[in-house]
Symmetry: C2
Subunit: 512 residues, 2 copies
């Protein structure tokens, strides 16, 4: 038997302590809108759905909707009667498990529980070695997945870049799904714009789940569905994908991504209302297909810089849009998602940190169930960079610590503790409460530097990005998750056009 | 007569637009504590003041306090009966004008109006030219003042560094006051630890105000007073300074800066309660000296990293402490201050941005009247750097935009706007609402980059810090405020030991 070393002895004598943060802490203490303001927005939402409706519905969904009480007006727009909208909101699923591939990564979505993870569809990545932006690839998707797999505060992996090295939409979707699945055992999400893609990947998901029909029992891959082209128009192909995904039992992220001042009103309240109406339209369709569907209310209105029309994901206005949408989702009590962390900066600098800091913290405190884009993104979603996942994970930890809040009870607001210290030693360093709270109440960052100025100078005066690069190198060189058995992987390679070489998926590839 | 050029013609035809932000927008939509939790903390505060009290009161203040109903227990601690504490809270001044030297910079403090400005007492500065930390000087104080003078979202200049190039406390205080006054016409704040310093600077303040007794009419210099040495002990000399400052009509920042886990409880709720008790003790004393005093409830509990004992100003725990203190001040309805923006990073990098982003936004949304340390600080208040004032001003703008919130009314939540666009052009770019909201609802940053990735690369792929350095150079080379007439300045130089050479205070000094 191995003799316990000093370290493990110490470890075993420490009392078990609840960690300072965990996925799914309760948000909602920031309320950008008053109750009356939410009701006013809700009134506009109902009116938009009933009196304006959405154009371009697919024949199949139109048939379902009309059978359930919707009307098609003489311009072909699908209109949703108020009572029906309120009915569906009332009976829709209020919480569900978003499964990880590994059940250890399951998260419970709904009820103002806050989670943070990736999002996005960046076409470019800042190359880790050259520092220059280039087209993103399947290998990048896989490497980001491996990073995410090791980041405690990134609770899922929604593919954040587009693999530009695939030829067809089907190949893109198959290889994206494969790279995500292979790189992390957390819950994954892929954007499917085509029902054929959804049907194509189900056998892959079943294979990873352990056999035909098994994926449906623990669906660990969410279909991201931009079911609308704002303003107030259905995206026809995506609606077909939506139908296929819901039928396959996939969780579905119903995204309405209007841009205020371009495809949504410049007035923030109007942009929130339009997004809510567009997502509710999708939610109703999902519920008509399967009342037990796992649908996520993803109001993602973006901000335009009105001088140029360019998106500004890092603006204060964006922080407000996302927080207000999270609060509206709370008003409806629906499992939801908003975007935050979408800095306009092209690299992880002071601007990126600041913009991520306020956008994510306001979305989190507004009680968003899922904060997408909260890690890794650059340039208003147009780029990404490996270091940013590591840096943002640290930031997310601190923000989630603030969501946990201040515990006020007999132990924490205690007269005797203060009196004993004041009348005794005069400081709290040696007090049992200090020792007890050290591990339960205080979160220690992994990247953020807390050294003194002179210690920091002695250690090379490095900035946070430089420190994070070390972590990237270590993880990417070492961490090749083995949750998909080799035999399953071989089967996938036999049945699908997988472009990521098997040799790329192990420590001997010599890249890192 | 000069012919109007194209630029001024354009200007005059634009409709006057309310700017998207202004000082003093209303916060309070983030409530980290419930009503019951605030009441529990308040109960502990009352008990601490009544049953434990504070030691080391000065004889003069003891006499005033005992005459007003306080008791001195047999260990010499000054105790404050509950009814007296509640009385003073009830009758204390709820709002007042914090005057700028120039009335254009007056701000109204109280009632959840949020303002942001500098703070701190850093002993070092990251030298702008060498990038290395060195001892800070009177010239640095003056140069920072000049930067602050040009930053719209830094609403006052509380001296942020200690001038290490002065010999005595009196010289330090005189030269600090002089450098602040000379560099900006905003409201200034200086820490006086000694009543002699307070008495010495009043003639200087009067001279700048226009004559003897004039400062008292528009007091534009706040005395920062750390009147306690936590836990629950008065700082004797600072109490003398407090008395002198209140008698001179100075606004007074009553700071209790305990460190959780060292000089305050590790449990956050306890740290908040102790800080509230300590500041209330000071507030009562100020009110006994002058019931019309301008006192600011400055609960500044800091966080220790309990592994090392070092301060961690950028932690999530710090964000919670400051936000909870702001909320308690709102509970008491007192003009108040909390610290936020105190990054642990030693330079303006991603860590600094993130930490400033969440700490400042949560303090602001919790409704703090004054957020001190919100610009310029590095290394948990141990350092500063010129670039950071410029960078943080940009960040503060975006955060203050979020405090302004979402306007929900007939114009912003408007059915007709959406219907007209949907049934018409299909996008909002040309809609009158978009044009109207462009200037009133959207804030455009000065440093933050919103270019596309390729434009940014073409422009040199600079980070935010690098861009901010250009602004620093421009301002410091050009901006020498002339609000103190040369003749007044000459008189000050005749009567005080001013170490900043007059030649340093003009564009011809050749430094920038």
């Amino acid at each position: 038997m191995r003799k316990p070393n000093r370290r493990s002895r110490n470890k075993s004598t420490l009392p078990p302590a609840a960690p300072p943060i965990r996925p799914g802490m309760i948000g909602g203490r920031y309320q950008p809108l008053s109750q009356a303001e939410m009701e006013r927005i809700h009134e506009l939402v109902l009116r938009l759905l009933a009196d304006l409706g959405l154009s371009q519905i697919t024949p199949s969904l139109e048939a379902r909707a009309v059978a359930a009480g919707c009307e098609v007006d003489d311009t072909g727009r699908l209109r949703f009667p108020r009572a029906m909208v309120e009915d569906v909101i009332g009976r829709t699923r209020r919480k569900f498990t978003l499964h990880g591939i590994d059940p250890a990564h399951d998260i419970e979505i709904g009820g103002r529980r806050v989670h943070t993870g990736t999002g996005g569809a960046a076409p470019t990545i800042m190359d880790f070695h050259s520092g220059k932006y280039r087209e993103s690839t399947v290998a990048d998707l896989y490497d980001i997945a491996r990073l995410v797999d090791r980041m405690d505060n990134i609770h899922w992996y929604h593919r954040s870049v587009v693999a530009r090295d695939t030829e067809t939409v089907l190949d893109l979707d198959i290889n994206t799904t494969y790279a995500c699945l292979s790189g992390t055992s957390k819950s994954i999400a892929v954007s499917y714009t085509d029902s054929a893609s959804v049907r194509a990947v189900i056998p892959m998901l079943d294979a990873v789940a352990g056999g035909e029909g098994r994926f449906r029992q623990r669906p660990f891959c969410t279909a991201v569905c931009c079911h609308v082209v704002p303003p107030m128009r259905f995206a026809t192909e995506s609606c077909d994908a939506l139908e296929a995904a819901v039928e396959a039992g996939m969780p579905i992220l119903l995204v309405a991504a209007g841009q205020a001042g371009a495809t949504a009103p410049a007035a923030l309240a109007g942009a929130v209302a339009q997004a809510c109406a567009e997502v509710l339209a999708g939610l109703i369709l999902c519920n008509l297909i399967d009342p037990q569907c796992r649908a996520i209310f993803a109001t993602w209105p973006f901000v335009s810089d009105l001088r140029t029309g360019a998106m500004s994901g890092g603006s204060g206005e964006q922080a407000l849009l996302s927080a207000a949408c999270a609060q509206m989702a709370g008003f409806y009590d629906l499992p939801n998602s908003v975007p935050a962390g979408m800095t306009d900066s092209k690299l992880p600098d002071m601007q990126a940190g600041g913009e991520k800091g306020y956008t994510i913290s306001l979305a989190a405190h507004a009680g968003a169930s899922m904060i997408h884009e909260s890690a890794g993104m650059h340039g208003s979603l147009m780029g990404t960079g490996f270091e940013s996942y590591v840096l943002d994970n640290d930031l997310l930890g601190a923000i989630l610590r603030t969501v946990k809040g201040v515990e006020v009870n007999e132990d924490t607001a205690n007269f005797d503790v203060i009196r004993d210290v004041v009348m005794g030693e005069g400081h709290y360093l040696g007090h049992p409460q200090t020792f007890a709270r050290m591990k339960t109440d205080y979160l220690y960052p992994q990247i953020a530097c807390r050294r003194s100025i002179s210690d920091w100078e002695d250690a090379g005066a490095r900035d946070a990005r430089d420190v994070a690069r070390d972590t990237v190198r270590t993880i990417l060189a070492d961490h090749y998750p083995g949750h998909i058995p080799e035999e399953v992987d071989r089967r996938l390679r036999d049945n699908f056009n997988i472009v990521l070489p098997r040799a790329r998926m192990g420590a001997s590839n010599g890249i890192w």
